[in-house]
Amino acid sequence: MAIVHIPPLMRDLTGGRDKVSVPGKTVAQVIEALDAVYPGTKARVCDSDHLAPGVAVSVDGVVARLGLHAPVKPDSILRFLPVIEGG
């Protein structure tokens, strides 16, 4: 199962847990699975069917260009990050 690092500001929903293992073959599926275990998590990171404004997700250290559609491997590590721009 994929490991999701829970940001400090979301740990009120996970009982203080900083890492959660959930199944899923895409970022969207992982977030759905996370929300099933810890209700309310999806609403923190998603805005309807997109990642929320200003929120990015990394899979195995690489920011997922495909967002919610990005593939996830069984042993992937996911993190939620602020969006970064270049000049």
Partner: protein, 760 residues
């Protein structure tokens, strides 16, 4: 100079003439303001003089009645907004219910001449109800501050706030146990830093020409970092089919992130549609300052702890970034830069994106990073001093290595930061005594000092497209959709030449438009030579494969038996075609050979840069003179060393502007007082010594030639390097940018003592 050379290339690594050099030197290159079309009108945008006001009414009748005026448009001409972000973008094009900064567009006029357009705009009657304005980022967060957007609630991963706020968003990075880390520290330093809003200062203003065909196709010629970004913005705001908008990029006279965003393209398109003639808008310089996207003013509260043996145990920081009128400051990348180079076991960073009554900020070369680096590297220097360590040695002891986790949760890849610091430590500038000052960074000089600072910048990859087609004379045309800001058509063509085994003069590079090239992200984030170079290499490999097949068909041999090297196709049986000889037969042997490669590069190599500054401070006036300046940087593989050095020098010069000169000055009403290049000083050749460069090459393994992004890292360290040098010269640590004479005199107690003397 080059510290390391890893791999020999034929074309890559050479100092070649730029393909665009002759046209730019002789004035033939077409920049945004140069574009002229038959029957073209001129547009002028009327802007609010008030920083915060309700827009009660706009009466355009007097302007419309003026002879020679063809069209007047306001926000009422824009389609309605469909989302919050859409409303922000729409309102930043033309204000609807409120103006949120002095310079906010309220209407635009198209007329026969630029003067007439301005005269007509000035007689548009606009009725405002003034509101209190706030431009300081901390003032904006106070409970009694005027609220810019009544419906704005602070957004964060903790949920949405329950009351109106100017804090648009908050994020937090956490690693380890910061409280425990500080408890383990023997020395703790803590400071607050304030940095001013600055502008990219590109010399070419924003300019655009919009024209509509009779069948409803909008064509825009504009100066931009991304033709597709402009197309998508115009499509979004005018609710047009994508197929009905074509954007043609011109040459670009400076951008640095400020031309990632579209400002007057929509206004020109609206005017042109109404007037049924082409309309050109060139922003006057004051408008560029007032109404495009500068970088954020910011406040930092930073704390660092270390043990006696020089190991950093904990870091903590709060970052407040002004976004201007609408959310979207670069506080996220500022947080990444803050302690980016170091392996710190415990840390917490809180970032706040705050709206203020200023123009909505945009990217500026390593967005958000330069002021963050100033804060962090000043504290690093202070810790090193308190621990009695050489500042570079202290940084080396704490430097991250591949696989180390960053405070923002990411992981360092294959990086060359240690090699950069070691090259700086060994370079002649660092080892040479400072004439008239201390011989090392450990001793305070009276008036002269040497400082260092180090920085990491993540760089970027992204989407790029490159097309190659073989011409009958053996040359190869290369068309890329990546706008060329700094000579990238040369560095992309050099990579194509290297991959094709051809001399660079056989490549004919050009930049296409949105109708004749594949999609590309903006030319930003130090990505173009890197990512578009990968596309060029991929296309080149495909061209070679196709040409091998053509040779095999002509020779009637299996394709596997055809080799290719140095521009020659051959077989073991001594069959031989140069690429040029084969190219002559291409059209008659199956049609053209061409290839287009489209990439979305998801991984890229970070760039590291160390700067060394020698300064002299006049203790009577507070004036800082730069005596000597050196930039050391890992560039992976320098494709064109002269242009790499130019990037290092240019970035450092802009960082010197952040350090000593540049800053928006506002009055109490929120109006900018220095919206011109006389009162807003950028560094000139009289202010900056010849900047020495040391290129370090630690190849990035995921680029075929080892390339890393180059453009952004060198703007990061100058303020901290200069501040640390100032400290060694006069014994005070600046905590404001720019470090003006007044700030330094205040820090030194000179201004206060002078006031006291005057009073007495």
């Amino acid at each position: 100079m080059t510290a390391q050379k890893k791999k020999p290339f034929t074309v890559v690594g050479e100092r070649l003439p730029r393909y665009d050099g002759a046209d730019k030197m002789t004035g033939k290159a077409i920049f945004g303001p140069d574009v002229t079309l038959p029957g073209m009108l001129h547009g002028f945008v009327l802007r609010s003089p008030h920083a915060h006001a309700r827009l009660l009414s706009i009466d355009t009748s007097r302007a419309e009645a003026l002879p020679g005026v063809y069209a007047v448009v306001t926000g009422a001409d824009l389609p309605p907004a469909e989302s919050t972000d859409h409303r922000y973008a729409r309102d930043n094009t033309f204000a609807s219910d409120k103006v949120l900064y002095a310079g906010h567009a309220v209407a635009a006029v198209a007329a026969r001449t630029p003067t007439l357009a301005e005269q007509a705009a000035r007689i548009i009657d606009v009725e405002y109800e003034l509101l209190p304005a706030v431009t300081d980022v901390l003032d904006t967060t106070r409970d009694d501050a005027p609220i810019l957007h009544d419906d704005m609630r602070t957004r964060s991963l903790a949920g949405r706030g329950n009351k109106s706020s100017n804090v648009a968003s908050h994020f937090q990075h956490m690693k380890g146990d910061p409280a425990r880390g500080f408890a383990e520290a023997d020395v703790i330093v803590e400071r607050e830093f304030h940095t001013a809003t600055v502008h990219q200062g590109y010399i070419e203003s924003h300019a655009t020409v919009a024209t509509w065909s009779d069948d409803g196709v909008l064509t825009i010629h504009t100066t931009t970092q991304g033709s597709f970004a402009v197309r998508d913005h115009v499509v979004w705001l005018l609710n047009l089919p994508m197929s009905k908008v074509r954007v043609v990029p011109t040459e670009v006279g400076g951008a640095f992130g400020g031309k990632n965003t579209s400002y007057v393209d929509v206004a020109a398109a609206l005017l042109a549609r109404k007037a049924r003639r082409p309309v050109k808008i060139t922003m006057p310089r004051p408008d560029v300052f007032l109404a495009t996207g500068p970088s954020s003013g910011a406040v930092f509260r930073v704390k660092l702890g270390a043990t006696r043996d020089g190991r950093i145990t904990a870091a903590q920081a709060e970052l407040f970034y002004a976004a201007g009128a609408y959310p979207g400051s670069p506080v996220g990348s500022g947080a990444n830069v803050l302690f980016g180079p170091y392996a710190i076991p415990n840390g917490q960073i809180d970032g706040y994106d705050v709206v203020t009554n200023g123009p909505r900020v945009s990217s500026y070369r390593a967005p958000g990073g330069t002021p963050a680096n100033f804060a962090a590297e000043t504290l690093l220097d202070e810790l090193a001093e308190k621990l009695g360590l050489d500042p570079i040695e202290f940084r080396l002891r704490n430097h991250a290595r591949e696989g180390d986790e960053r405070l923002d949760g990411g992981t360092h890849g294959h990086i060359g930061g240690i090699e950069v610091l070691e090259a700086a430590q060994a370079c002649e500038h660092y080892t040479a005594p400072l004439e008239g000052g201390p011989h090392s960074g450990l001793h305070r000089g009276l008036h002269r000092g040497r400082g260092v600072a180090h920085a990491a910048w993540g760089n970027w990859g992204g989407r790029s497209s490159c097309a190659l087609s073989v011409n009958g004379d053996g040359t190869v045309s290369l068309v890329t959709s990546s706008v060329d800001l700094s000579g990238t058509r040369t560095t992309i063509a050099m990579q194509a030449a290297e991959a094709l085994g051809l001399p660079p003069e056989r490549i004919k590079p050009s930049v296409g438009d949105t109708d004749n090239t594949g999609y590309a992200d903006v030319s930003a984030g130090s990505r173009t030579t890197y990512a578009t170079g990968i596309a060029a290499i991929q296309a080149a490999k495909d061209v070679i494969a196709q040409m091998r097949a053509r040779a095999a068909a002509l020779w009637d041999v299996p394709v596997e038996t055809v080799g290719y090297a140095d521009g020659v196709f051959s077989t073991a049986d001594a069959l031989r075609f140069t690429l040029a000889e084969l190219a002559e037969q291409v059209t008659s042997s199956g049609g053209s050979v061409s290839s287009i490669a489209n990439v979305d590069v998801g991984e890229w190599g970070a760039g590291f840069s160390t700067h060394i500054a020698d300064v002299e401070v006049d203790p009577e006036t507070g004036k800082v003179t730069l005596l000597r300046y050196t930039v050391v940087q890992d560039v992976g593989q320098a494709v064109h060393p002269a242009m790499v050095e130019g990037q290092m020098q240019g970035g450092a010069t802009q960082g010197i502007g952040w350090a000593l000169y540049e800053g928006y000055a506002y009055n109490d009403a929120g109006q900018m007082l220095n919206a011109n290049f006389l009162d807003y000083k950028i560094p000139t050749s009289l202010d900056v010594p010849m900047i020495e460069t040391v290129i370090v090459e630690v190849p990035y393994p995921k680029h075929p030639f080892g390339v890393r992004g180059v453009g952004e890292p060198p703007i990061l360290p100058p303020p901290a390097a200069i501040a640390n040098a100032i400290y060694r010269a006069v014994g005070v640590r600046p905590d404001h940018l720019p470090m003006t004479p007044a700030h330094l005199l205040e820090k030194m107690g000179v201004i206060e003592s002078r006031i006291m003397n005057h009073d007495s």
